[in-house]
């Protein structure tokens, strides 16, 4: 992985009930600096839908989405 893409923080939201996966992602991003990357593990379906929408609305950027078996790994870059 490119050094610039290395996440500075990582959370696992698998098993969380909506909207907690979105809320935890929001809180984690709140404490980060612009440009920093957050790695989030998410279950497929509703969590991916809710988190990706909210991340975008808050002005952050999803830079990578990977399917790892039954869950997803999302890399989010904190916006300005």
């Amino acid at each position: 992985m490119n050094k610039d893409m290395a996440p500075s923080r990582s959370i696992d939201t698998c098993g969380e009930v909506c909207p907690m996966n979105m809320v935890r992602t929001k809180f984690e991003l709140k404490d980060m600096l612009p440009g920093e990357i957050l790695e989030v593990a998410l279950e497929a379906g509703e969590p991916v839908r809710n988190v990706s929408r909210s991340v975008k609305e808050d002005g952050n950027r999803i830079i990578k989405l990977e399917k790892l078996g039954t869950h997803y790994r999302m890399l989010i870059q904190k916006g300005e």
């Binding site: 379906g45 991916v48 839908r49 929408r53 975008k56 609305e57 990578k64 399917k67």
Partner: protein, 284 residues
């Protein structure tokens, strides 16, 4: 006023409904899309305490009724409510109070403004006489929280998405989030099945690189829904019409209902009897 002088029909059309208790009425209000201001709630509380038994009833159609109003107080309640900007509701064979979700005024998913549309429809059609009750509901998106499928005339906001190849990174997020399986991403190539798409706009609002954009926003219309003893869901008969087309279609639908319904027939039954294609030809 003695009981034999009471014109129940006129009371009913004016939003006063006779209760099983002697000379007691429930005063129904004309609430549009469930929108009530704080000052109006205070006026309602005052009226319920002064003229009713101290409570109000929330109806299944986002409406409000003040029960236990004595016949002698009917006019006073009407005046107090009018002062607070709350008008009388309706019942019987008329166009009923309009249901609407908050749509894009509040909800992150809302694609249109159902509150604004509800006020316009209410101004134009509220309590207009029709062969049987006629219920309208407006949902801001295909999630259908306002249950347009249960109404005689359902309205649903929608957006048609368009894929921009040059913006797409092929990440596959849109395929994952699409509930209708309308998007397939294979080796960076996106295939979009318009027939399957329910115009919810999730792909647009979620795409990390804005490779999905709005091609067209509009209203999807449904006809013939009802609950009651013989329930049936409304069926979609046109997609993505604009506001002026919507009003034209609604005009024609009401006309169709007046011209074709037998006595006490809901429009769903009229359409079942005459045929959906005939209805479509008449209103589109």
């Amino acid at each position: 006023m003695s009981q034999d002088q009471v014109d129940y029909e006129s009371l009913k059309s004016g939003g006063f409904m006779r209760q099983r208790q002697h000379n007691q009425f429930a005063f129904r209000l004309r609430i549009v899309g469930g929108y009530v201001e704080a000052d109006q709630l205070r006026a309602l509380a005052k009226a319920a305490e002064e003229f009713g038994d101290g409570h109000i009833h929330l109806t299944t159609r986002q409406g409000i009724e003040i029960p236990f109003i004595h016949l002698d107080d009917v006019e006073s309640v009407r005046e107090d409510m009018a002062e607070a900007g709350l008008r009388k509701g309706t019942c019987g064979p008329r166009i009923r109070g309009i249901i609407a979700c908050q749509g894009n005024t509040v909800c992150p998913r809302g694609l249109v403004n159902p509150q604004d549309l509800a006020r316009k429809i209410d101004e134009k059609y509220f309590a207009a006489g029709v062969p049987h009750k006629f219920k309208i509901s407006i949902a801001g998106c295909s999630a259908s929280c306002a249950k347009p499928q249960e109404n005689d005339f359902g309205i649903m906001g929608g957006v048609e998405p368009k894929w921009l190849k040059e913006e797409c990174t092929g990440c596959g997020l849109c395929q994952e989030i699409c509930r209708m399986d309308a998007i397939i991403v294979e080796d960076g190539v996106v295939t979009f099945d318009r027939e399957k798409c329910d115009l919810c706009g999730d792909c647009i609002s979620s795409c990390p690189t804005d490779a999905w954009v709005i091609n067209k926003t509009g209203y999807t219309l449904l006809i013939g829904g009802k609950v009651g003893r013989f329930p049936q869901l409304a069926v979609k008969f046109v997609e993505l019409v604009d506001e002026s087309q919507l009003f034209e279609i609604l005009d024609k639908t009401i006309q169709f209902f007046k011209e074709n319904a037998t006595k006490s027939e809901r429009i769903g039954d009229t359409v079942n009897r005459i045929g959906l294609e005939t209805f479509r030809k008449a209103v589109l």
